[in-house]
């Protein structure tokens, strides 16, 4: 099996690589179109800022390439947000697999809500094959200031004052807002389930 991680200007790729390594999977980090298209699984990770990342992807035509991928794709954190339609983060048009807006968390009362959300939060309403081995209310590690709204493609819900999409799925595209690569055993099982697709 060939697993490819999309190489672009958003960090955190190494953590994903190490998580795969712990599962005995060797992955290639690449922005080469051929390698990405021919991979069995593609992971689209990311920590960073939406507009800079989208600009980088567009310049290399990676946005279209990602949109056309046929194999299972897993977007993580910023990767998930970039798979949505539009992000409030510097008013950025994104790839648009998921027809959902990405908005910024807003504290209802000053300083009540710490932004970014940093830490472990539980996920509910799980209904995707990648959550097959994870119980309802499992805790995952989140670090983010922006969130994808709820929609028909939501496969897990988290709550941070409001309910939002902790995971999305449409066709061959899977996406999670949290970091499975940093979410202990539970996160590891999600990556495993994805790799088995």
């Amino acid at each position: 099996m060939k697993t490819a991680i999309i190489k672009y200007n958003a960090g955190n790729i190494r953590s994903v690589l190490f998580a795969l390594e712990r599962l005995g999977v060797e992955a290639t980090v690449t922005d080469d179109p051929e390698t990405l298209i021919s991979a069995d699984k593609v992971i689209f990770p990311g920590v960073g800022e939406a507009s800079t990342a989208m600009q980088y992807l567009r310049e290399r035509k990676l946005d279209r390439l990602i949109r056309d991928l046929q194999q299972p794709v897993l977007g993580i954190c910023l990767g998930m947000q970039l798979l949505c339609k539009h992000s409030e983060e510097n008013n950025t048009d994104c790839i648009g697999i998921f027809d959902l807006p990405v908005k910024k968390f807003e504290s209802p009362v000053e300083n009540l809500l710490k932004i970014p959300q940093i830490g472990w939060n539980n996920i509910t309403g799980l209904h995707s094959v990648i959550f097959e081995h994870v119980p309802q209310n499992a805790y995952m590690y989140f670090v983010h200031s922006y969130y994808a709204a709820l929609g028909a493609e939501t496969t897990a819900i988290a709550n941070y004052v409001i309910n939002y999409s902790a995971a999305l799925q449409k066709d061959n595209f899977y996406a999670v807002q949290f970091h499975p690569e940093k979410s202990a055993e539970a996160g590891q099982r999600i990556i495993e389930s994805f790799l088995k697709l």
């Binding site: 710490k114 970014p116 940093i118 472990w120 805790y139 970091h179 202990a184």
Partner: protein, 251 residues
């Protein structure tokens, strides 16, 4: 619900944990990776590795160690100790650290926080403050608590957050090592004044101290070292206790 975090802190010197630890179920308690992995398995929510190596080789040793930790530990971890530049941070994040903590260098050159948050994002920049209460207020200390400043901790914390610090790791020197509980007043002030998470550190001696710092001082996370290393409090029993008290905790 977002949970409160329990964070064991490991002091590192020349790639080894410093404080004497005695765990039967690991082969080498001086090995930061084994100890870190054990804490992760026991339910620690994050780890902090604080490097106190003073030699010239420290940078290379530390980045190699960080990579080994990142390979083996499946929860987030922060690396701190002597970090003074964008390049230092770049090396550590590339090596696999999730966050870095800066202290004295950021105080001496506050612009460092702006540069770091611009370059890497606030979410991975933790500002560590060592503070002591005297003459009616809490003041910032530098160089591991050896150098006093005239700056009030609340003022520095606010400025640091404005400049891009994504979390505050607050250590009370008055409380550190006493096992009499965390500094609730200053932790509470910062938690309520700032829109970033506050990690309380220094003074943990009982499980009730953790409950107090979460309930009374609204800390987002609590850090401790020796009580975990010397097994005075086990992480599973601590989490169970906090859960029974109705505090949001991850199991």
């Amino acid at each position: 619900m977002l949970t409160k975090r329990i964070i064991p802190c490991l002091d590192i010197k020349d790639g080894r944990t410093v404080k004497g630890v005695n765990f039967e179920n690991i082969r080498d308690a001086g090995d930061p990776i084994e100890l870190g992995a054990l804490y992760a398995q026991q339910g620690a929510d994050e780890l902090v590795f604080l490097d106190i190596t003073a030699t010239n080789e420290r940078r290379k040793t530390l980045s190699e160690l960080v990579t080994r930790i990142a390979r083996h530990v499946n929860i987030p971890f922060t690396v701190g100790g002597g970090i003074a530049s964008v390049e230092d941070v770049n090396v550590l994040l590339n090596a696999g650290a999730d966050k870095v903590s800066v202290n004295t260098a950021a105080f001496r050159d506050p612009g460092l926080l702006n540069s770091l948050s611009r370059e890497f994002g606030s979410q991975c920049i933790v500002l560590a403050i060592d503070t002591r209460f005297e003459d009616g207020d809490w003041y910032v200390y530098l160089n591991g608590g050896r150098v006093k400043t005239d700056t009030r901790t609340v003022d520095w914390a606010k400025e640091a957050v404005d400049r891009g610090a994504g979390e505050i790791l607050l250590t009370s020197m008055n409380n550190d090592g006493t096992k009499q509980g965390f500094a609730l007043d200053i932790t509470s002030r910062l938690s309520q004044d700032l829109h970033v998470p506050v990690i309380a550190s220094g003074g943990a001696g009982t499980m009730e101290h953790f409950a107090d710092v979460f309930e009374k001082a609204h800390a987002d996370a609590a850090l401790a070292a020796s009580i975990f290393h010397y097994k005075e409090i086990g992480i599973p029993e601590l989490k169970n206790y906090l859960y029974q008290r109705g505090i949001q905790i991850r199991f």
